[in-house]
Symmetry: C2
Amino acid sequence: MSQADTVTRILDSAEELFAEKGFAETSLRMITTRAKVNLAAVNYHFGSKKDLIQAVFARFLSPFCSKLDKELTVMAAAVQEPSLHDVLDVLARTMLTGVHSTVGTRKLSVFMRLLGLAYTQAQGHLRRFLKEHYHQTYSRFILYLRAAHPELSPREIFWRIHFAIGACVFTMSSIEVLRDMSMADTGEDSGVEDVMNQLIPFLAAALER
Amino acid sequence: MSQADTVTRILDSAEELFAEKGFAETSLRMITTRAKVNLAAVNYHFGSKKDLIQAVFARFLSPFCSKLDKELTVMAAAVQEPSLHDVLDVLARTMLTGVHSTVGTRKLSVFMRLLGLAYTQAQGHLRRFLKEHYHQTYSRFILYLRAAHPELSPREIFWRIHFAIGACVFTMSSIEVLRDMSMADTGEDSGVEDVMNQLIPFLAAALER
DNA sequence: TCTCGTTTTAAACGGTCGTTTTAAACAATC
DNA sequence: GATTGTTTAAAACGACCGTTTAAAACGAGA
């Protein structure tokens, strides 16, 4: 088994388990068992559990932000004054395509769940890591939003977009629980696609009011 | 120190720490140290950590659901066909008043954060506990929502209300992080009240579209 | 005051955690 | 084929976890 195999298998297992259980509830022994590698491999290849957490985020956020940056540049070149719809469309398309490509197919729900953990479970080290590496792309994205609605204050823009992120992240984070509840309540199953198809107009109405 | 003191102090400390760190990241030793009680007191008074978690939820959800039930009855007696606004208003008022009363003053952000944990960190035992004890009030609330908008399918109602819950829970769960980010982005501080004042019309626009 | 049920205390239990260590297996270079 | 640096393997480390135990302290009723 080559190094790349071992590292990748650890990242794959860690990503799944973190998304499913969170950071503290996932032990290195769970990760290495699922990855079928030796326990010590995590500390050898990554250094520590914290470094592994950061590596898991880096693996999907780095290509995602690169893609988003590129797409934002394409958009800026194509249209004079990008509308809110333009900007959000770039984000949505980047999430759908960028997530599924690059490093194998990654489920959108895993992406969202990890993003949610970054907000709600992040210890200091992860927050600092994310800010240091991805704050630039984030800022650029926010700037386009502001330009699209110059009549709104930066504070209003900030909070509206984070309300929207909250609805997405929460929904996708607890999608299994919610689907169970929906099933119990309404008697009908809701596919993830159905949920997305309702979420988007919901957010559009809230953002564009 | 009387029993009530010990039990209450444990619940207070546990509530704060759970809201701050989550369940797995909070040890009984942290809780008992903060509460200034002996380590064994948790197992003596509550049985186990799981039972303590359930007790923390019960302490704020039981009076909350009682209040909500009562207020829903008042509303139903007052207006023939309650509108969405009527129903949500009952919820909002119950949260603001009911949370702050009953057992001392509890911060709204702690309430929200615990609610969020129930969705995203709930082990099986907590989910079963909440369903068993509070599902009835929840169902009744949902029924009024359906009655207010009979043209929407139960599935649409369910998902819209949970998108809204997501925006609330996520925002209040990571309110400290978000306020820091907002400060860094816009240079202005956003008080919790400011955020609420923006969140409510945001949700209204999304729900009532 | 003595008694007896309740509560608190200090210490220990077995188990799991993240991490380290030491040696073995491997792959590439000469 | 020996040597070197890299990767894997098994075992152990100390630390902390939730829980249990057994004795001490307490408090109300006889």
